[in-house]
């Protein structure tokens, strides 16, 4: 149904190459997340798949058919935009049924599909309102409703949650994951938020400057990042990188150790340091440790109850089995 294959796809705007030739296969029914810092080309890649931008070279295949020159409407994909892009002068019902009206479906079928989408998305009571009278989360659901009534081969989400407040974002994240479980349709989701990527994806594609840095399941990326960039991007707080003598001890140019893999003790430990700012989250405490002689700051995750204060001297012990080693080129060595 929704297998998408990118074959040597590249995109340039004028002289600047935004996406160098790139190969990627998205399997049918898979929830794929494109993640990367802003300006990495992830949105452009999504727009290429949608057909809103023309590829400079290469081919895009959808369901085994070459769709490179096919217009966006005929690719059978539905997109949810960051700004929701609802039609402000139409009611929710008209918004959701718009693609069906454009496809000239008969009225009864239109109504049936709109009712079903509305009940799935809890919008039944709002069908006669206009987008301006809805909250952010409801607007988001209308945008998703407009996408699902088309019964597309794949859904494309372009940072759909970035305009919502934190609590709503968590809620909508669950709803979208739930929707994917129910529909089993291919979904491609673009975000710069690695938490969204980790929690929702079957497979994550990490992008930097148009290059694919690594493709894999969330835990693969977490446990075996292919290079320094992926190691630093996936995981929160960021992985600590240590170069120099300490790294040489492990036979690498740089070693990376995640904050959750370092033990904090008051007395004895491998490294000594001074506590800087500590962020208390209740369940955890993130300690920013300075003067270790290893790096500017080492971030450590400790339990919620630790009572270290600014300026306290402490000791750190990394778990040796989960140290990531990288060579001079920044690639994982092992």
């Amino acid at each position: 149904m929704g297998r998408i294959v990118l074959n040597k796809v590249s995109k340039s705007f004028g002289d600047t190459e935004v996406i160098p030739p790139l190969d990627l296969t998205i399997e049918d029914g898979e929830f794929t997340v494109f993640v990367g810092p802003s300006g990495c080309g992830k949105s452009t890649l999504l727009r290429l798949i949608a057909g809103l931008e023309d590829v400079t070279a290469g081919t895009i295949e959808i369901d085994g058919k070459d769709a490179t020159q096919v217009s966006p409407a005929k690719r059978g994909l539905a997109m949810v935009f960051q700004s929701y892009a609802l039609y402000p002068h139409m009611t929710v019902r008209k918004n959701i049924s718009f693609p069906l009206r454009m496809a000239k479906l008969d009225k009864a079928e239109q109504d049936r599909r709109v009712e079903r989408a509305a009940s799935v998305l809890n919008l039944t009571d709002y069908l006669d309102r206009r987008p301006g009278q809805l909250s952010g989360g409801q607007r988001q659901r209308v945008a998703i409703g407009r996408a699902i009534v088309r019964e597309p081969a794949a859904f494309l989400f372009d940072e759909p949650l970035s305009n919502l407040d934190a609590a709503l974002r968590v809620g909508m994240r669950l709803e979208i994951s739930e929707l994917h479980e129910r529909l089993k349709t291919t979904m491609i989701y673009v975000t710069h938020d690695q938490v969204e990527a980790m929690t929702m994806a079957d497979r994550i594609v990490v992008l930097r400057a148009g290059h694919i840095e690594q493709v894999g399941s969330p835990l693969e990326l977490y446990h075996t990042p292919r290079n320094l960039f992926v190691a630093g991007f996936i995981g929160s707080p960021k992985m600590n990188f240590i170069a120099g003598k300490e790294a040489e001890k492990h036979g690498a140019h740089t070693v990376g150790i995640r904050p959750e893999h370092i033990m904090v003790t008051e007395k004895k430990g491998s490294w000594a340091g001074v506590v800087g700012v500590s962020e208390h989250l209740g369940s955890d405490t993130f300690l920013h440790v300075h003067e270790t002689g290893l790096a500017d700051t080492i971030t450590v995750r400790a339990g919620g109850e630790v009572g270290f204060r600014h300026g306290d001297r402490i000791h750190l012990t990394p778990r040796d089995d989960v140290i990531h080693k990288f060579d001079t080129g920044g690639l994982r060595s092992e």
Binding site: L52, P72, A73, F81, A85, Y87, H89, F98, A103
Partner: protein
């Protein structure tokens, strides 16, 4: 901030402007009202006393009244149609990225800066002249008989001239409206399978409706009082006598100030009725 002292100071400083504005509006208005109830013929005896509603009755029962209303409406509606339709299309066109955008936009707005008298004269002598006009040459080039624009199609000619003047205004307002349209909406419509014309009809036009209402409102108010274009081209002949022009003729050509003033009061009432309805339309648009 608003202490007793600063408030009275503010009042004193505002006073000149307010008095000037009030005087500017009230003095002519009361004079018009005053004269409309007078039998006042400057060259034929001057002030001949009160006339009651005589002037009002005579103005509407004269054979020139209804034709003048008709030509006023034809001109106003004709110009509105042309400027709004062409304005929407031009705005669409100017919204496309192109080389020399800034210069093109300045050129498009240029006709608005030309004085009405001047532009009407330019049109009359350089374009519509049946012997030397550019249009006459064009007609002759294709072997056709040149049209005597101002006598054969006088209303149409005036509509053209006035439309040319007001098209930039409509275009400019509509262009800014088009630029405020969220491009993601158009892309969403494209993904939803709407072809170009449907996107225009379902997304762009509804988005422009408010701007179109504003263009219609403002233009109507100004178009009801066009005068120079008629004065320098047909001089009110060939059925181009609008209400404004009729009033002018009553006062200056017939030297009947009372009768003209009564016509002026009718024009004020008419303009206010139009403004009231248009305001309601715009208001409704602003609510939605």
């Amino acid at each position: 901030m608003a202490t007793q002292q600063s408030r009275s100071a503010a009042r004193i400083m505002l006073a000149p402007a307010v008095i000037l504005l009030l005087g500017w509006m009230l003095v002519p208005l009361t004079m018009t009202l005053y004269f409309s109830f007078k039998k006042y013929l400057p060259l034929r005896g001057g002030d001949l006393g009160w006339a009651g509603f005589d002037n009002y009755v005579r103005f509407v029962t004269s054979s020139a009244f209804w034709p003048s209303i008709q030509s006023t409406l034809i001109i106003v509606i004709g110009v509105l149609l042309i400027t709004v339709v062409l304005g929407v299309l031009l705005a669409q066109l100017l919204d496309q990225p192109m080389w020399g955008q800034g210069i093109v936009r300045i050129l498009v707005i240029a006709p608005f800066f030309v004085m009405p008298t001047v532009s009407a004269l330019v049109w009359k002598n350089m374009f519509m002249d049946p012997v030397n006009g550019l249009l006459a040459h064009l007609w002759k080039f294709f072997g056709a008989q040149p049209v005597e624009w101002l006598s054969d199609a006088p209303l149409f000619s005036i509509i053209m001239i006035v439309s040319w003047q007001w098209l930039p205004f409509a275009t400019l307002i509509l262009l800014t409206a088009i630029q405020s349209l969220d491009s993601e909406q158009l892309e969403a419509a494209e993904m939803d399978g709407a072809p170009v014309l449907a996107r225009f009809g379902y997304i762009v036009l509804p988005h422009l409706s408010r701007a179109i209402a504003i263009v219609i409102l403002i233009q109507t108010i100004f178009l009801l009082s066009i005068f120079a274009e008629i004065f320098v081209t047909t001089g009110g002949a060939f059925g181009t006598r609008t209400l404004t022009y009729l009033i002018f003729q009553r006062v200056l050509e017939s030297q009947n100030v009372g009768l003209g003033s009564a016509g002026g009061v009718y024009a004020i009432v008419l303009a206010n009725i139009v403004a009231y309805f248009l305001m309601r339309i715009v208001g409704k648009n602003l609510d939605a």
